[in-house]
């Protein structure tokens, strides 16, 4: 069975360039919105989920979903955990730190009220050592152990009042001096770090929220998790840092996924209707041509296929337009609230090849859906009647 040459499809598209382009744009906008929301979700997810280490273990209270609701008794439980056999020891010091965590209300520099910033009490310098090369000081110095000094994550210096080196932040009623700025290639990038004992004293919190430790190579964390869950002495939930952060993305991730779903469904349905309109008009305007195609020997299927390809081509152009629209968002800095912890977190949109491919595929599918009925109608035309028209 001979197919209608592709050249015919392409030339038809070019001749009717304006309606074709408009339908393509409609589809393009739909997949651009889809791609934008997915890029937002991906940027957020990759910051948290892909930067946690597999050789760092986080110990929380059993049942706690996040650091915020975890309580580890200090010093009785933290000392027991630090002495565990899987923890790496350097010199005589175990690479394990009992840390505190609290989201504090701090004023934004743009005057738009307060936001919630994570203040982490850390053991200096062990907590920094556990993070290794991912944590780097870029300005000033590290806080001295036992002092009322803090270092702040770089995104905070411009967004939060009092976060420049030399300035003072007041936690409850205790002033802390900002002595340095750090960067972290991951989830700790938008935090404030200071000595855990001093911060817990200022915030009147006798407990710690978690213990974090570097574990020896080859440690089976899954087995460890099972073993510690039912530990008689200190029951804890042990998980890798990567697994912990992945779990922290669920709330916002689900909302964005839901948003992407509903937007794609509704906007996609609307775009399909637009494409149906364009293709119906295309078929209507070419009734005579269809009649000619059929009378020179093309069967019903090639005619159907020919119009379907045309619709798919419109979808493809739309998908490419959508991808072009969404590409500039790549790397764009934004900040949002992590709904698992309600703390603000800065990250960048991430337009991955997968997202681009998804956009293009969805666009082609939308085009095909829009083209199916008109193409079928074209293939049902009776040649003699079609030729007689006009």
């Amino acid at each position: 069975m001979r197919l209608v040459p592709l050249r015919y499809t392409v030339r038809s598209l070019v001749v009717r360039w304006s309606p074709s382009l408009f339908s393509a744009l409609g589809i393009g906008l739909t997949v651009a919105v889809l791609g934008g929301v997915l890029a937002l979700r991906e940027g957020f997810r990759s910051l948290l989920a892909e930067t946690g280490s597999d050789d760092v273990v986080v110990y929380l209270r059993p049942g706690a979903q996040s650091e915020g609701e975890s309580i580890v008794r200090h010093p009785q439980d933290t000392n027991v955990l630090k002495a565990r056999p899987e923890v790496v020891v350097e010199g005589n010091v175990p690479l394990a730190a009992a840390e505190s965590y609290l989201g504090l209300k701090l004023p934004r520099t743009d005057g738009s009220g307060t936001t919630i910033v994570t203040v982490r009490g850390v053991e200096i310098p062990v907590s920094m050592r556990i993070q290794g090369p991912k944590w780097r000081l870029v300005e000033g110095k590290e806080p001295r152990p036992g002092s009322d000094e803090v270092v702040v994550g770089r995104p905070l210096t411009t967004r939060i009042v009092g976060c420049k080196v030399g300035e003072t932040l007041t936690f409850n009623v205790t002033p802390f001096k900002v002595v340095g700025v750090f960067v972290h290639d991951g989830a700790y990038a938008s935090e404030i770090w200071g000595d855990v004992d001093r911060i817990c004293a200022a915030l009147e919190r006798p407990f710690r929220q978690r213990l974090v430790a570097k574990v020896k190579e080859g440690t089976d964390v899954a087995a460890l998790e099972k073993q510690l869950e039912s530990d008689k002495q200190v029951p804890v939930k042990a998980q890798t840092e990567r697994a912990y952060f992945r779990a922290q993305t669920t709330a916002l991730g689900n909302v964005l996924q839901f948003l992407a779903g509903i937007l794609t469904t509704l906007m996609g349905a609307a775009a399909v209707l637009g494409a149906v309109n364009t293709m119906l008009a295309a078929v209507g305007a070419r009734t005579r041509e269809v009649g000619i195609l059929m009378s020179i020997g093309y069967r019903r299927f090639p005619v159907f296929f020919c119009f379907l390809v045309e619709a798919a081509a419109i979808g493809l152009v739309g998908g490419v337009l959508g991808a072009v629209l969404v590409l500039p968002f790549n790397g764009l800095q934004t900040s949002t609230t992590n709904w698992n912890t309600f703390t603000e977190i800065a990250f960048a949109f991430r337009v991955t090849p997968t997202i681009l491919a998804t956009s293009v595929v969805v666009a082609v599918v939308l085009g095909l859906l829009g083209g199916a009925v008109p193409a079928w109608r074209a293939s049902r035309l009776v040649p003699t009647a079609a030729l007689r028209r006009l």
């Binding site: 059993p62 049942g63 979903q65 919630i116 009147e204 609307a270 637009g274 309109n277």
Partner: protein, 392 residues
């Protein structure tokens, strides 16, 4: 033939295309109304808050608690009529995938401070008598199938049972929210007395001491809310834990702000939707108008003014998009209840205001005008002779 009949004839000449255009506009308007309603529902929660209720939280953090000893001192502040101790209980229900807030309160004070929480008298008495009794919202009861008398296991996280098992509560009451009030219908309230019991059986909870997440005050008649708030905060300005007292409206606004910049995100999406509608309507009208070039030429040749031709196109476009607007916005209003049920997890409260319906219809009609301007102009500037000679 009047203008109206001419427009109607044109609009029904290609019924499939017109129907598609109406349907397309309706879908887009529905989406835009849905997005706007999420925002207006949030705003109505703030507007609807009571002016004489104040919240007292830690000035340091939303997650830091206040000493339980503050209650008696706050009650002494002039202008404070009553004080309730709202305390975050935390914990997980089943596998933790279904989330709902769990709060310990003094039930007698809750009923006095919140007339919009409607509970039958017998259930109120049962709640005051039963330390393990809990009060759940109608929305939560419907979602999880709770009925009065059911047992609800909650695995403790902050308040852990010494044997590690789940705490067991009994549904003693189900509250409805008064019709014109805005209150989360999915809260799980338990008794403050239950926390006292936890502290008796768990040495760990006892060691942590009694803490309160937020104090809810009612301002006595004749006092200014701002004065009372100032007096409470002044009392603790130097510690031990500083307080931040604000009206319930400000408190709700703060909680919503903590969800991040939803307004901007929805604004962007809304703009994309409107632009997509513009393109598609413009496209359809351009096709419709192009098919009728010959007729337009005849009308012009008969001596009608160019704007008479243009207004036919504009009127047809507005008719179709306006109809789409009515279907989409009206549909959103009718579907509000269903949407609330489907998206129960994310939107505990959700309603579509009449203002949103009006904005949807008006917006659709406006898009109809704008999108048809270009095709209409092209019809108006046709040269009659040329068109007629083309023989289309």
């Amino acid at each position: 033939m009047t203008l109206a009949r001419l427009v109607l004839r044109n609009a029904t000449r290609r019924p499939v295309r017109s129907a598609l255009l109406v349907l397309f506009t309706a879908l887009s308007v529905f989406l835009a109304c849905f997005l706007r309603s999420v925002l207006t529902t949030m705003r109505s929660a703030i507007d609807n808050a009571s002016g004489d209720r104040l919240t007292v939280q830690s000035a340091v953090s939303l997650f830091a608690e206040l000493p339980a000893s503050y209650r008696d001192a706050i009650a002494q502040v002039p202008g404070v009529a009553s004080v309730n101790r709202w305390t975050w209980f935390g914990g997980t229900y089943q596998d933790g995938r279904v989330f709902f807030p769990r709060m310990a309160v003094d039930f007698d004070v809750l009923f006095r401070q919140y007339p919009e929480i409607v509970v039958p008298e017998a259930q109120r008495a049962a709640l005051l008598a039963n330390r393990r009794g809990c009060l759940v919202g109608r929305g939560l009861a419907d979602q999880l199938g709770f009925a009065v008398g059911d047992k609800v296991p909650i695995q403790g996280t902050t308040y852990v049972r010494p044997d590690g098992k789940a705490w067991e509560f009994e549904v003693a009451g189900i509250y409805d929210v008064a019709p014109d009030a805005v209150f989360n219908p999915k809260v799980f309230f338990l008794s403050w007395d239950f926390l006292e019991e936890v502290r008796r059986v768990s040495p760990e909870a006892a060691a942590a001491g009694a803490r309160v997440t937020l104090y809810m005050l009612r301002v006595a008649p004749g006092y200014e809310a701002a004065d009372v708030a100032g007096a409470v905060d002044a009392r603790y300005a130097t510690g031990p834990t500083r307080t931040h007292t604000q009206t319930e409206a400000a408190f709700r606004a703060e909680r919503l702000a903590s969800l991040g910049n939803v307004t901007a995100l929805f604004g962007w999406i809304g703009a994309a939707v409107v632009f997509a509608v513009l393109l598609s309507v413009g496209n359809a009208m351009a096709m419709a108008a192009a098919e009728r070039s010959r007729e337009s030429g005849i009308v012009l040749a008969l001596g009608f003014a160019p704007w008479a031709v243009a207004r036919l196109v504009v009127a047809e476009s507005v008719l179709l998009t306006g109809l789409g607007g009515v279907v989409g916005a009206g549909g959103a209003r009718l579907a509000a209840g269903g949407l609330r049920r489907v998206f129960a997890e994310i939107l505990p409260i959700f309603s579509v205001e009449w203002a949103t319906v009006a904005a949807g219809i008006g917006g659709a009609a406006l898009v109809g005008v704008v999108a048809s301007l270009w095709p209409a102009t092209r019809q108006a500037v046709l040269r009659p002779l040329e068109v007629l000679r083309r023989g289309e």
